[in-house]
């Protein structure tokens, strides 16, 4: 097969690779320090409280988990949908998926009130909890994608095996993102969450965020080792990213239009879209315009290498904003426990809950990102997952 001619080589340890590695380790160490500090003093030192129970760490974690399943897209397109041009990148796509998920899960676990009881979460399941199902989906994803990566790396293997493994991994990642979206979609008590569309919207988000992260990480690693990436390939990836970003906007539009139609949800929509302060700004300014419309315009109106890179950066930034709005604004918006009444006295009834993330939460979140990137880089350093050449001539010869 033509595929076999792609040459995969480990990342060479250039000074740039070392410097980046040390930088990432510094971030990971800082996160470790933040975790010890939060463990010692309790969550009192964070900005999280009894109203905003999930904060900045969870925004980072959910972004990484969503991006993880999306990072597998390239491999899925290659093995499940048979697009030969994507095959040289399939191995690294699988590796990155595992690394991003590991980074995201590390944040979730380290933010638990009792991270020392992780073993309980792994052994005691309440099967009516979507959260428990997610634990199984995450661990299963790691295993399945690891097997998929291994079969891709076998020199002589029946390609049908690769395709089957790829199909299982693809179906599993759909289930995984459905599960992640349902963590919010199934919370009936909160008007900002309770929506079946969360599951497909999270799948669209994963396509978009995951591809953006894949493009950026791959380009950085290629740059570090002076390996060529073709302009046409990048334009192609850019167009794909544009389509995914548009799909996200579509689901966002449907979600809000549906809510606007129901009188009972007008208030929460007003909060998100009109007078929610920072959340409204993040929604329109960062999520929709900067992270949606601008990158779509870039890749379709001015397709180029730099447009794809800029669009990827913007999609990542917009993605963080979107997850922040979903996770935090959904909790900040007050629960209406006494409809028809004005609460004169009570415990923050009917008012928007304030949330100011602490430096410790930011350190933990960034540490998770660093861990994911470090794991991906380390994988590329020790495994033959990165092709030596992604120039257009080389890719076209195989495509």
């Amino acid at each position: 097969m033509a595929m076999d001619q792609t040459i995969y080589r480990e990342l060479k340890a250039t000074p740039g690779v070392w410097q980046l590695g040390v930088l990432l380790i510094a971030f990971i160490a800082a996160a470790g320090g933040a975790v010890l500090y939060m463990e010692h003093h309790g969550h009192a030192v964070t900005g999280m409280n009894n109203q905003i129970v999930w904060g900045l760490p969870h925004v980072f974690a959910i972004f990484l988990i969503v991006a993880a399943s999306g990072a597998l897209n390239i491999a899925s397109i290659a093995s499940v949908f048979g697009k030969a041009a994507y095959k040289p990148m399939a191995r690294f796509s699988s590796l990155l998926a595992i690394a991003l998920l590991a980074g995201g899960l590390a944040i979730v676990v380290l933010d638990l009130g009792r991270p020392d009881r992780l073993i309980i979460a792994m052994t005691t399941y309440n099967f009516s909890s979507i959260f428990a199902w997610n634990v199984l989906l995450y661990t299963g994803f790691m295993g399945i994608v690891a097997i998929y990566l291994v079969v891709q790396m076998f020199r002589r293997i029946d390609y049908r095996i690769v395709r089957s493994a790829g199909l299982v991994a693809f179906l599993w990642r759909l289930a995984l993102t459905t599960g992640t979206g349902s963590i919010f979609g199934w919370v009936v008590a909160r008007p900002g969450y309770d929506a079946a569309i969360m599951a497909p919207m999270f799948i669209a988000m994963s396509f978009s965020f995951g591809l953006a992260v894949f493009i950026l990480v791959t380009l950085v690693l290629f740059r570090l080792n002076d390996r060529p990436v073709g302009e046409e390939l990048l334009k192609r990836l850019g167009r794909l990213l544009g389509i995914f970003a548009a799909a996200v906007l579509y689901f966002v539009a449907v979600q809000h239009l549906t809510n606007l139609y129901a009188a009972e949800h007008i208030a929460v929509e007003r909060f998100l879209l009109l007078d929610g302060g920072v959340y409204t700004l993040l929604f329109w300014g960062v999520q929709v315009i900067l992270g949606g419309l601008v990158p779509i315009a870039l890749v379709f109106l001015n397709p180029s290498r730099s447009s794809t890179i800029l669009a990827s950066v913007l999609v990542v930034i917009g993605g963080f904003a979107q997850v922040y709005v979903i996770v935090v604004a959904g909790q900040a918006y007050p629960l209406e426990i006494f409809p028809g009444y004005e609460v004169l006295e009570g415990f923050h009834e009917g008012v928007v809950s304030p949330y100011t993330p602490s430096i410790w939460e930011l350190m933990l979140g960034l540490g998770g990102v660093a861990l994911a990137l470090f794991a991906a880089g380390l994988g590329a350093k020790v495994l033959r997952v990165l092709p030596t050449n992604l120039s257009d001539a080389n890719v076209a010869a195989k495509g």
Binding site: H41, G42, M48, N49, N50, R117, A121, I337, Y341
Partner: protein
Amino acid sequence: MTNRAEMTRRDILKSGAAVATVTLAEGVTLMAFGGSAAEAAGADAGKRWGLLIDASKCATDCNDCVTACKVENGWGSEAENAHIDPEQAAQWIRKVTLKDKETGRVTSAPVMCQHCEEPPCVDVCPTGASMQRPDGIVLVDKHICIGCRYCMMACPYKARSFVHEPLTDQKANSPRGQGTVESCNLCAPRIDTGRIPACVDACEKAGHSAILFGDLKDPDSPISKALKTYPSVALRDDLGLNPGVRYTNL
């Protein structure tokens, strides 16, 4: 005292009347023994404990139920709240004062865990720490709570608190600790030993008797009769959770 070292499974089974077999989860069976049958009965699946709160009897300026809960369960001391944000402080029970938007009528009532028949906090808990006893009381098993706070997300009543700081000197009857979630347990230790919850006790002593306590499954209990006679509401009734705490004259 029973010598448990010499007690084999067969002995336990043979010991007869005072043996209660309970199934915790699939495949995990526990044997209860000892004491008189009445004392060892524990939570009775034939009962469902509930509260009926009469807002017309609840005094706006009275906070005795909250104070009694704090004393009983040892939460919310000044020392405990000194170093944390008010939003991070424990809140097992709170008083709310409401004004009807249409009529301007002002009422007040306590809000605590509503002890739902279909508790969302129990559904969402990944480990099964958030649980419902056979007698309908909803509480957290802090031995297996990992502190993920998903139950707090799912609760429509803001009834749960997360312990944001290390604690010492807890009450023996009310263990609570850093990194776990807690909420009103309807004073389960008191109920199990035949006593009424602390808030009910305090409200009666304050001369209001605004909180009626009793067995919702017993049609002849005062609470069941009152519910049958007077109109009452459940908070967020639209969610269909069938809370064990009901309100009247709100």
